[in-house]
Amino acid sequence: MVVTFAAGSGFTPSLKRHASDTRWIVLMIVCAAALLDAIRRLVATRALPPRGLLRFGLLAATFLVVAVISTAWSVSPRLTFERAGSLTILFVLAAAIASSTARDVAARVRVFQGLAAGAIVVGLLGLFVLVFDYDAAYIGGEVWRYRGFGENPNTVAILAAAALPLILGLALRAGSRGRRAAWLAGGLLLVASIIASESRGGLLAAGAGTLIVAALGVEGLRNRTAAVAALVLVFAGGIALREALEPPPTPFASQVAPAPPPIPTKPVPPKKSKSKQHPRAKPGSPGKHAKRPSPTPRSIVPKVRKTALLPREEDEIGHPGLSKKSTTTLASGRLAAWSGALDLIGERPILGYGFGTEQKVFVDRWFYFNGGMTENSYLGLLLQVGAVGLALIFAMGAALAAGGLRALRVLRGDEQLLALMGLGVLVAACAIMVIQSYLYSVGNVATATVWISLFALAPVALEPRAAPKRIRAAAPEGVS
């Protein structure tokens, strides 16, 4: 599933075209299989899903309800309904997996192994692209940026950032040196991919997620210090490399064209307009402008002098030909775009423009910014479902973070490490949210990995004291 979704954001249009439909089929099949398995297990044990999962599920369901009913005020009701539907499928899939694995640590390990292996396969596919189709594996321009199997340099970087806490945790719990080396090699491949992609946000997110796992999961003070120091060096070094390679911004010089001098001509009486008011035009103040007897363009032909072609819409703000002042180039122009997004949010702050409409509402008009969305999930959520929707997502994250940290004190062995991996993904996910619009977009390469990991954390984080009991019930001989 991870690979199919990565292909949906693949490096060639034909790959994207083929995978964009396939990924939904795969999602449906995996969702159906996970749901059937969860129901089978619940029927066999005659038990409800774990209370912790039900609590988290209630928050998730409340968010989904807000997303679905935002159809009522959405700028594109159909789009909103479709996007809310696809997120519902992903939440059902993640909840079913969490329910099935809540009482089965080994199964939860396998889920995390699957997610981590999927990300490593995407990393390996990127290497193949680099070897066999070098020109397709990078994006040129001022800075060489590796994109590997992904559509752009950030695609693989955010998947790697979400998966690296899982990979590090799996390496820490590996039973043999060979397995540990294999997971570490996979992790190094993904770290190298992020560094080569020059994605500062990806590096920051991967660094934050893996640091949590290393700081709390590595045993022994010396090993822990060495692991943390190595991670800080690698990720800080990657960010420093990007900063060093970034070309300095070109100095801004406004080239705003002055207005033409006025033409001293006699006033020309307007000719009677042949063009009539549009039959569907509404009366009232706006119509006044249109209804007023106005000259046809021909009557102004002698007066209109030299005209200019406007720049592209996506380059208007900060364009030297249109702007008196430059816009900031910080964070690849994101800060300027975010300021514009905040203006939009200010128009509809409580409930937003409708779930799934970020791409429709947010228009890139910034000269130094490239992106169809705000490239920030927090702003994206505010834009789509307002403060209410963002508060619900915050509540989900806060519940998992607080519960997860509490659970670490209660849990032992694999259960503790799995909770730590979930927390690592949570931290990485929060960091990725700062640089990407993704958490609510099921088609995004990292979304499934993040939500499946977070739902798997929920039964443990929101009901930690029940975990040892569950483990004893599931495996009386004990699971290490």
Binding site: V65, A72, A259, P260, V304, A308, K325
Partner: protein, 133 residues
């Protein structure tokens, strides 16, 4: 048992009331935002002289949305109006301040109540294109 049913019924009613409230607030926000954007568009339109057929026509861009620009006394492309295929004004830009001001209903053109004759818009676009220097 009966007490439980009553509790569930009250909870369901409260949930329904909350949903209705959300819908009401969402729609109110939508109307208010559209009203503010339209008010901004009218100020730009007024700055041009209230009519898109103006001798201050100074720029253009084929879209969608199709845009026309107008000069003031200082800037060539000081003001800008953009229209959808039905002639609805969906965006207005005022570049006279240091930071440009955008008023837009591009995301849902049907909210715009300011409409112009599409033929006139096309003629103005052609005129502006013919005078590009």
């Amino acid at each position: 048992m009966r007490r439980r049913v009553v509790t569930v019924a009250i909870a369901a009613l409260a949930a329904l009331a909350l949903l209705a409230l959300l819908v009401a607030v969402g729609r109110w926000e939508k109307r208010r935002a559209a009203h503010e954007e339209l008010a901004g568009m009218r100020t730009v339109l007024a700055a041009i002289g209230g009519n898109i057929v103006s001798p201050s026509l100074s720029g253009y861009r084929y879209g969608p949305p199709d845009c026309l620009a107008y000069h003031d006394r200082v800037m060539l492309l000081a003001l800008q109006l953009c229209f959808d295929s039905e002639g609805r004004l969906v965006q207005a830009v005022d570049r006279r301040p240091d930071q440009p001001r955008y008023y837009s209903l591009e995301y849902e053109p049907s909210l715009s109540t300011i409409r112009f004759n599409r033929t006139t818009i096309d003629e103005l676009l052609q005129l502006a294109a013919s005078r590009t220097g």
